[in-house]
């Protein structure tokens, strides 16, 4: 049995009584609550359940899916609107089994297949934290209403039978205590593989390609296996821990998209010991190499020589004589666009500023990857990331540059500073504007519907749709 069965009310009364009678017990409770806070941070509960920073865990954030919005629930101890009425067992069932106190199945936007591995000790602390360390908030969250057949929550049971496991990938070899801790943080609390592992046709994580990288919401969650070329094998443990803490490492790369959020909300708040444990574990993960890769992405620094200054910043036609030359922003010349949109921060030579507050585009994983996705996404949507050391932002250029202009400037950046063989097309940019290519299953859904495929398959498609960052599971076939 994973959790004690003390009833909620008894439990609360006991806690209150202990708190009233004994200072020592109170201190223990505080320790427990503090430990629970660490677990909640490592599990990144706030990422979905906090919509406004001033109302932590009050829920309401809409998790987008092609089937409609799934609203993250209020998980404050509010009796009417939150989880104030949950017993510890009910709380544990929601986290580990995806079943709420009413007995309804949760949508797998809640990563219960990863949380299935949460230890009894952590679950106990987490419960104490949410009941005592979080302020009750009566925020009423909109009800999630997905269209048929996705409205049938009970169908989750079948999928769970297939994919709900023990929340942890088997260890590659023997693990010492530190690596074991890192493994737990990576797989169970951090649910890293929900983004970093590719999906099978049925959108379950491909256990043969554990942490080998995947596309998600237009971004590439890179290969973070220990492979020295395709993965993070060439990163030192210190570099990995620093990356998790701050979101950037000079000469390696910076976090954007969902990873920037993970750094901001969760990883930057973990202890250095835990971050090093995660790094140490990642260095033990079985290496997986993309056969097309010949050197690590961060090693690339472009191939083409920069155009001469006169070409990059020509003396323009006299604006007094031809105001149209100043007004029309139609050029698709990569060098011109780079000078206007990028060079102020990343510098004309692409090397960034001396302190790398504005990072170099050379020796930068996003630019050195063989696929331009992360570069294009950063250009379109910008970056906003609060790491442990600084809050940084790159503006979004999606509004100011057309698809063809993004393609031109991204190609210029790739060729001069990164992976030189990439040629970005306007079509790819257009795809990414709309959230990246859809999984095959989703694209086939209308046809499969027409073909009268059984409900069970529909359920799998539903899950496919749900699988976004945060809205994902560490689904694996039960052994």
């Amino acid at each position: 049995m994973r959790a004690n069965l003390t009833s909620h009310w008894l439990g609360r009364a006991a806690v209150a009584l202990a708190g009233a009678l004994s200072l020592g017990a109170h201190a223990q409770d505080s320790d427990l609550v503090a430990r629970g806070r660490v677990v909640a941070t490592a599990g990144d509960c706030a990422a979905c359940h906090t919509s406004s920073p001033s109302r932590p865990y009050a829920g309401g954030r809409a998790i987008g899916s092609p089937m409609g919005n799934i609203y993250a629930s209020n998980i404050t101890p509010s009796d009417g609107h939150g989880i104030g009425g949950y017993t510890e067992q009910q709380f544990a069932d929601a986290l580990r089994k995806g079943i709420n106190a009413k007995g309804q199945h949760l949508y797998p936007a809640m990563p219960y297949t990863a949380y299935a591995g949460i230890s009894d000790e952590d679950m106990h602390a987490l419960y104490a934290y949410f009941m005592q360390g979080v302020k009750a908030d009566d925020n009423a969250v909109p009800e999630t209403k997905l269209p048929f057949p996705y409205s049938m929550r009970w169908t989750m049971a079948g999928w769970n039978l297939l994919y709900l496991g023990d929340g942890i990938h088997p260890a590659a070899g023997s693990e010492d205590e530190r690596v074991k801790r890192g493994h737990y943080l990576v797989d169970t609390l951090g649910h890293c593989s929900s983004c970093h592992s590719p999906r099978t046709f049925l959108m379950a994580e491909d256990s043969h390609a554990y942490l080998a990288g995947a596309k998600i919401d237009g971004w590439i969650a890179p290969n973070i296996t220990s492979d020295s070329v395709s993965g993070i094998g060439a990163w030192s443990e210190d570099e990995l821990a620093t990356y998790l803490k701050t979101g950037h490492v000079k000469g390696k790369g910076q976090a954007g998209g969902g990873m920037a959020e993970a750094v901001e909300q969760s990883l930057s708040h973990l202890s250095d010991d835990d971050l090093h444990a995660m790094a140490a574990y990642l260095k033990t993960v079985k290496p997986i190499r993309d056969p097309n890769d010949t050197k690590a992405a961060f090693e690339y620094a472009g191939a083409a020589a920069l155009p001469p200054l006169g070409e990059r910043e020509p003396v323009r036609p006299d604006g007094a004589a031809d105001p149209e030359a100043l007004r029309l922003a139609t050029t698709t010349d990569g060098a011109t666009l780079y000078a206007g949109a990028c060079a102020s921060c990343h510098q004309p030579d692409g090397l960034g500023t001396q302190n790398q507050y504005f990072p170099s585009l050379s020796h930068n994983r996003a630019v050195g990857m063989s696929a331009p996705d992360n570069l294009v996404m950063a250009i379109l949507h910008g970056i906003d990331r609060k790491g442990a050391d600084a809050h940084v932002a790159m503006p979004a250029f999606g509004r100011d540059l057309t698809d063809a202009q993004v393609a031109a400037v991204a190609t210029y950046v790739e060729q001069h500073f990164g992976y030189p063989d990439v040629n970005v097309s306007a079509n790819i940019v257009a795809d990414m504007r709309s959230g990246g290519p859809k999984p095959l299953l989703l694209r086939l859904t209308p046809y499969l519907m027409l073909g009268g495929v059984v409900i069970a398959a529909l359920v799998l498609w539903l899950l496919a749709a749900m699988i976004r960052r945060r809205a994902a599971t560490t689904a694996r076939r039960r052994r």
């Binding site: 910043e313 020509p314 003396v315 323009r316 604006g319 007094a320 105001p323 149209e324 100043l326 007004r327 922003a329 011109t336 666009l337 000078a339 206007g340 949109a341 102020s344 921060c345 507050y357 504005f358 910008g382 906003d384 809050h391 940084v392 932002a393 790159m394 503006p395 979004a396 250029f397 509004r399 100011d400 540059l401």
Partner: protein, 528 residues
């Protein structure tokens, strides 16, 4: 009977003021059409125009001066008939003139708004500071103002003033070495050097990166850390407002009950269109707004439209101090001296503000040295020497409203056949008396910094703060709008411009304009 309208509200002008009004209305679910005479031009393009320009000191140069959307340095577009060449650096494009400003975001003092009651000169505002305060806060949050809420911004070294309901949304920028030294040397002489609250974000905010000190606030912030009105034009669009560019309003049409029923505009290609709405907000800046009213023959029963034109007409001091101060690090200005901001002296002479420029002075210095014939290695050495020690004081004076200082439609017409601008502007004795005070300060500054004075007789200078031209007041006989910025003559016509300001004080008026615009949106929203 129900009337069909093209929109609940048409806002004319997509600068900081119009765009904030449009955004607030669209956010509340109102249908809004935002008209803009110029084009939408992305920042990267303006930056390219700046980089490739050979006239980098001309802040209008990177912006197109179209025959159908002029910028103000075109003498044909803005002609002067008075003793002073009144020529603010106005732009026509989405976002308006906040594309190039120094982003100073001061609030008026409560006393600034009671000038006549307290000091017997000029006019009072018809509303009090307390009425405006919540909107100041909203405006500061919209613009991302970084400020120090602990200082006495009235410049008397007293308690924090003016009163605030909330802290500044962002902490102030770090104090540059130059400003540290200025404070160190000015404070013992009794000068209160106050941090300037400004619309340059000190951390990422509203999609903008933090200011990194490019020191290029004018003519364009290269990274968008500094606020510009296009940001809220975009927010307004995202909230559902429709932005129509290259559309110059040329007529407000009157209808039954003295209401405005439509606005007529002309596209750059010469085609005309007419839009109806329940409410109209003219936010076409302090010269174009009165011009539109005058050529439409609306809102002018007081005969005050276009009159009472005020700038913070100023003077300047250039000197080379006795120690390296290294101007040019950080934003182009960081603070000023406000000892003469408020007091009984305002009965006799204008209030005075001195601000110390922190712009990189190398171009000015180099031009001066070249004129003196300095060349070769000595030129390099002198540039280094002078640029480190350069002290550039910009002084502004409080103006009083004077009906003969005015803007009228010119007889000259632009490519669309719409009259352009004619200004008549003189500086009065109230300001001239203030200048004498400023000159005494100049002599003291020179002494404090053991400075070689380069120039202390600059002549009157433009400060680009257009006020008074659609003046606010409680009496419809002597003013154009009431305290809500609603025209006395037309209940559904509001003016969102610093042109409503009836008492100029010495502070840059944009923040106040935005606060008033948000208040206009609030008023309209409650009535619809």
């Amino acid at each position: 009977m129900t009337t069909q309208y093209d929109a609940d509200v048409v806002v004319i002008g997509s600068g900081a003021l119009g765009s904030n009004a449009a955004y607030e209305l669209a956010k509340q679910g109102r249908s809004v059409i935002l008209l803009e005479a110029g084009s939408r031009i992305p920042r990267w393009k303006i930056l390219e125009n700046f980089r490739t320009s050979s006239r980098k000191a001309n802040f209008n140069d990177p912006y197109p001066n179209e025959p159908w959307a002029h910028t103000s340095y075109d003498p044909e577009y803005l002609e002067n008939t008075g003793s002073f060449n009144f020529r603010p650096g106005m732009l026509k494009l989405v976002g308006g003139t906040t594309w190039h400003w120094a982003a100073a975001c001061w609030r008026y003092l409560p006393n600034d708004m009671k000038l006549n009651t307290l000091y017997g000169v000029g006019r009072d505002w018809p509303i009090e500071y307390d009425t405006l305060e919540p909107y100041y806060q909203q405006a500061e949050e919209a613009l991302g103002v970084a400020g120090n809420g602990e200082e006495d911004q009235s410049g008397q070294g007293g308690k924090a003033w003016p009163p605030r309901s909330q802290p500044y949304p962002l902490p102030p920028d770090a104090t540059t070495y130059m400003n540290q030294q200025l404070v160190k040397r000015l404070a013992p002489e009794g000068y209160h050097y106050i941090h300037e609250p400004n619309g340059r974000v000190t951390r990422p905010y509203d999609g903008r990166p933090a200011c990194c000190g490019n020191n290029n606030c004018m003519p364009v912030c290269p990274i968008g850390a500094m606020y510009s009105g296009d940001m809220h034009a975009t927010h307004a669009e995202n909230a559902g407002a429709k932005l129509v560019t290259e559309a110059t309003a040329y007529k407000l049409e009157k209808g039954a009950g003295n209401k405005i029923v439509a606005v007529h505009y002309r596209k750059a290609d010469g085609t005309d269109a007419r839009l109806t709405a329940r409410y109209f907000v003219v936010a076409a800046h302090g010269l174009e707004t009165p011009k539109l009213l005058l050529i439409s023959d609306v809102a002018n029963s007081s005969d005050q439209v276009g009159r009472n034109l005020m700038d913070h007409t100023g003077i300047g001091l250039l000197m080379i101090g006795d120690e390296p101060l290294w101007p040019g690090r950080g934003a182009v200005q960081q603070g000023g001296i406000f000892n003469w901001r408020d007091g009984d002296f305002r009965k006799q002479h204008s209030a005075v503000k001195h601000s110390m420029s922190n712009a990189v002075p190398n171009r000015t210095i180099t031009e001066r040295l070249l004129k003196q014939g300095v060349i070769g290695p000595e030129l390099d050495e002198r540039i280094r020497h002078d640029a480190a020690r350069w002290i550039d004081v910009g002084t502004v004076f409080e103006m009083l409203p004077n009906p003969s200082n005015r803007v009228t439609p010119s007889t000259k017409k632009d490519a669309l056949g719409i009259p352009m601008l004619r200004v008549n502007y003189d500086v009065d004795d109230y300001v001239k008396a203030g200048k004498e005070i400023a000159k005494k300060d100049y002599a003291r500054f020179a002494k404090i910094f053991n400075a070689e004075v380069i120039e202390d007789e600059s002549g009157w200078q433009n400060r680009d703060h257009i006020m008074g031209t659609v003046i606010m007041g409680s009496d419809p006989k002597t003013s154009v709008v009431n305290g809500d910025c609603r025209t006395h003559d037309h209940e559904n016509l509001f003016l969102a411009t610093t042109g409503v300001i009836p008492a100029s004080g010495v502070i840059n008026p944009t923040l106040t304009g935005v606060a008033l615009s948000i208040r206009i949106a609030d008023t309209i929203n409650k009535e619809i």
